[in-house]
């Protein structure tokens, strides 16, 4: 068992090797067969799963379960006593993330081996999937913040490559660009924060080995940082670090990229933009939790941003007509809930929601992929309907997912219960009200999408195609996970998640069962009434427009980055042309004029050259004159000669 933990770094290297094999193999025409590509990809992920399970079992049997940690890292950059390490850090949190990432990765890869089989860039897709696998595993297992940053960037790159997979479509490449640039905005904050923290650790703390910000000693780092900075600077540093999480997990105001990221293939949306990459932001917050928990302001900040995101994205999701967009906004909203949970102190609840959300959201996306594929790439739900008869398995799984995300049944119920419970216990009443509002809206739009797509009459043109066994198998596996994960709470999930870090638990014991269930049921009922019966849906004019156009935030960003930057760039171009180029022209002119002057000295006349020598001699002798004066004075002073 210990073998799995000691060699866990191999599960990062295996997908990298497969990626290189695929990409270089294409160049060298060695690896051509699609079947082989799919097989080795699945093999690498299965290998990762085996190791993850093995390490998890090892952790269970280890003696110090709440404080389990295994670290192995080596310095790769060493300047005097400042060193940056690279290695693996395995503790409860990373094991949980590892399991989630491996399993979902495996299922999605199995799904996409079938889904993308007809695509002519199938090998490239699988190469990118392996790259993403490598970066995500590296991120989850990394031992310090610098290494996390490296893999953070890699995940961003993989996301860019995968969103823009069909790069010939203009909207896809624009969406990829948008995602990458917004991620970069966050990365700037993350890097700045990392460097500042590293600086503080190097200069002021007792151990300069903390300069690489290892996660094993994150609470010490937090204590040092808090003691050496005042409140404002501490808050600024935390906000900078949070930027990264906000951008990666698409929080307000950097949330616009996630909806556009649906331009990528559906397996990409399932893997990256519902389960793993966007969860990386939450993971980072969980890792740096000891630092953030020291300042109440920072925690409130996280929670408020999370709440705002959750509310507005749920609001947007109500009126969308594209199936994948509805799911994208629901992902965004649930991420906001996770941030809200973490910020409000519901650490366990937030993380558990992360795990359950990963499973049912990816299942929902895979179901939507099946629907879209069977209707020949029709994504608008107004042209769907009554698909329950044609795609029964899909409908059942989708229904399970809807119940789960609304918090009514299965694992979603348990995770949302956990969150609202700790919110009410810690007296965060405003957050609780916001949470319930979001739950209402979530239930409403999810069931709206279910009813519009799967119930009623079919509104499209072409009859739907049948789907095959493998795709159904994938979503069924995820459905089983969704159903069963709920029982983990009975096994005391907290034990697995808090690694020696104590969050103050309130002594109150509230049972919010009635409130949360009733709120969700109201949402369900409203959706049922409006979309499954003959009652026409009400369209409130202004509110509808605001929601449908997503508060015009997209247009605002477009305006800023387009029009305003145009003005700025015109200014810069003017400056560049006249001042910078002017400087260059000036220096060229200077040289030319000097050389013109010097060329005047080049008469062909030898007598003028003699004249130059006269002038030179005059200067030399004048100099000698001064030298002689000094010599004379010196000799007079010391009484020599004369």
């Amino acid at each position: 068992m210990e073998f799995f933990v000691n060699n866990i770094y191999t599960i990062i290297l295996f997908p990298l090797w497969v990626f290189l094999l695929i990409i270089l193999g294409r160049f060298l025409n060695v690896v051509q067969s699609r079947r082989v590509i799919a097989l080795i990809t699945l093999a690498s992920t299965a290998y990762g799963m085996v190791f993850a399970i093995g390490s998890f079992l090892y952790m269970l049997t280890a003696s110090n379960v709440p404080n389990f940690a295994y670290e192995s890292s080596y310095p790769f950059l060493k300047i005097a006593d400042y060193s940056l390490n690279f290695g693996v850090y395995v503790d409860n949190l990373s094991l949980i993330m590892l399991l989630v990432v491996s399993v979902i990765s495996f299922v999605v890869q199995l799904y996409s081996s079938n889904y993308m089989w007809q695509d002519k860039s199938f090998p490239r897709f699988f190469g990118y999937l392996n790259l993403f696998n490598f970066s995500m595993l590296g991120l989850v297992l990394s031992s310090n913040l610098f290494q996390t940053y490296v893999f953070w960037e890699l995940v961003g790159v993989s996301s860019y490559l995968l969103i823009g997979f069909w790069y010939k479509k203009l909207s896809a490449s624009q969406a990829a660009k948008k995602a990458f640039i917004m991620n970069r905005i966050g990365d700037f904050g993350l890097l700045a924060g990392t460097i500042i923290v590293s600086y503080f650790m190097y200069q002021y703390s007792d151990a300069t080995s903390l300069a690489t910000i290892p996660f094993a000693n994150i609470s010490d780092i937090g204590t040092y940082l808090y003691s050496y900075t005042n409140d404002t600077i501490f808050a600024i540093i935390c906000v900078l670090l949070l930027f990264g999480s906000f951008a990666k997990s698409a929080q307000f105001p950097l949330h616009t990229w996630l909806a556009d990221a649906m331009e990528g293939p559906t397996p990409v949306s399932a893997l990256i933009h519902s389960a793993t990459m966007v969860a990386a932001g939450v993971y980072l917050i969980a890792r740096l939790y000891p630092i953030y928990a020291l300042s109440d302001w920072v925690m409130n900040f996280i929670a408020i941003i999370g709440l705002i995101t959750a509310l507005i994205c749920a609001y947007f999701a109500i009126t969308q007509n594209d199936l994948k967009r509805i799911l994208a906004y629901s992902t965004n909203s649930q991420l906001g809930l996770m941030f809200l949970a973490l910020g409000a102190g519901a650490y366990t609840g937030g993380l558990f929601h992360l795990v359950t959300h990963a499973f049912f959201k990816s299942m929902l996306f895979l179901c939507s992929g099946i629907v879209i594929h069977s209707l020949l790439n029709q994504q608008d739900i107004r042209y769907m309907g009554g698909l329950r008869k044609h795609l029964p398995t899909t409908a059942i799984c989708y229904l399970i997912g809807c119940f789960s995300i609304s918090g009514l049944l299965f694992s979603g119920f348990y995770s949302k219960e956990m969150i609202i419970k700790s919110l009410l216990e810690n007296n965060h009443y405003i957050f609780a009200i916001g949470f319930l509002l979001v739950a209402l809206m979530t239930a409403f739009y999810m069931f709206r999408s279910y009813f519009v797509v799967f119930e009623g009459e079919y509104r499209g043109e072409n009859p739907p195609h049948k789907t095959n066994f493998i795709l159904n198998f994938c979503i069924s596996v995820l459905a089983i996970f969704t159903v069963l994960l709920g029982y983990l709470t009975h096994v005391n999930f907290e034990k697995f998640v808090q690694f020696g870090f104590n969050i103050t638990q309130s002594t109150k014991n509230v049972n919010p069962l009635f409130i949360s269930l009733s709120v969700a049921l109201i949402g369900l009922l409203l959706a049922f009434v409006f979309y499954n019966t003959k009652v026409k849906a009400i369209k409130l004019p202004i509110l509808y427009k605001l929601s449908y156009n997503r508060f015009y935030i997209d247009n605002l960003y477009d305006f800023i980055s387009g029009k305003m930057y145009y003005v700025v760039s015109r200014l810069c171009a003017f400056f560049d042309k006249h001042f910078v180029d002017g400087l260059v022209i000036l220096s060229a002119l200077g040289v030319r004029s000097v050389s013109w002057v010097l060329s005047k000295f080049q008469t062909g006349n030898f007598q003028s050259y003699l004249a130059y020598s006269v002038v030179f001699l005059a200067i030399v002798f004048a100099g000698l004159m001064f030298a002689y004066t000094m010599i004379i004075q010196y000799s007079l002073l010391s009484g020599v000669g004369g």
Partner: protein, 182 residues
């Protein structure tokens, strides 16, 4: 202090003549006039040599500089200038003024340097270096002639070789314009 009036008179006469004729030489319009003034300069320097007690040097100066070289110059002038010399008077180009100023500066600095270097020498009467020796002409002649054949024989022989080289060299130069077949 006693001044030897006659000596100073003679010196100033010859020195004035040198300077006057030198200036005349470079500022005269015609090349022949400048040559004639140059001859006067050389004769006057021979006078200076006599004052310094170097009779033999003076005589050689008159013979070589005063007679032989003007002959060479006259030959050159004869063969080359058949036009009016107006065009080849002095130039009014910038080098005139720059060299004038430069030479003035050089003059001043050199005067200063000479004065200071003389003042640093061991002798106390730095400006009044009197002639402490008087070499009589026979002494000079005999010393020179014995010197040429004993101490400075090598220099004498080398000089004769130099003359030989010059004669051979000039005779191999193609000084007359030959008509080529083209």
């Amino acid at each position: 202090m006693e001044i030897d009036i006659l000596k100073s008179l003679i010196f100033f006469g010859f020195a004035g003549a040198i300077i006057l004729f030198a200036l005349l030489s470079i500022f005269s319009m015609r090349i022949l006039y400048s040559l004639l003034s140059a001859v006067c300069v050389f004769f006057a320097t021979a006078g200076i040599y006599f004052l310094l007690g170097a009779d033999y040097n003076a005589v050689i100066q008159i013979a070589v500089y005063g007679i032989a070289i003007p002959i060479l110059f006259v030959l050159a002038i004869m063969f080359t200038s058949d036009k009016i010399d107006k065009k080849t008077y002095l130039t009014i180009q910038p080098r005139f003024f720059f060299s004038f100023l430069g030479l003035g500066a050089l003059f001043l600095s050199l005067i200063y340097l000479i004065a200071t270097s003389l003042s640093l020498s061991s002798n106390s009467d730095w400006i009044m270096q009197k002639q402490t020796m008087f070499i009589n002409k026979y002494q000079m002649f005999s010393a020179l002639s014995t010197g040429i054949f004993t101490n400075y024989a090598l220099a004498f022989e080398l000089f004769s070789v130099l003359l030989l080289i010059v004669i051979v060299g000039i005779s191999t130069l193609n000084l007359s314009k030959e008509k080529t077949d083209d």
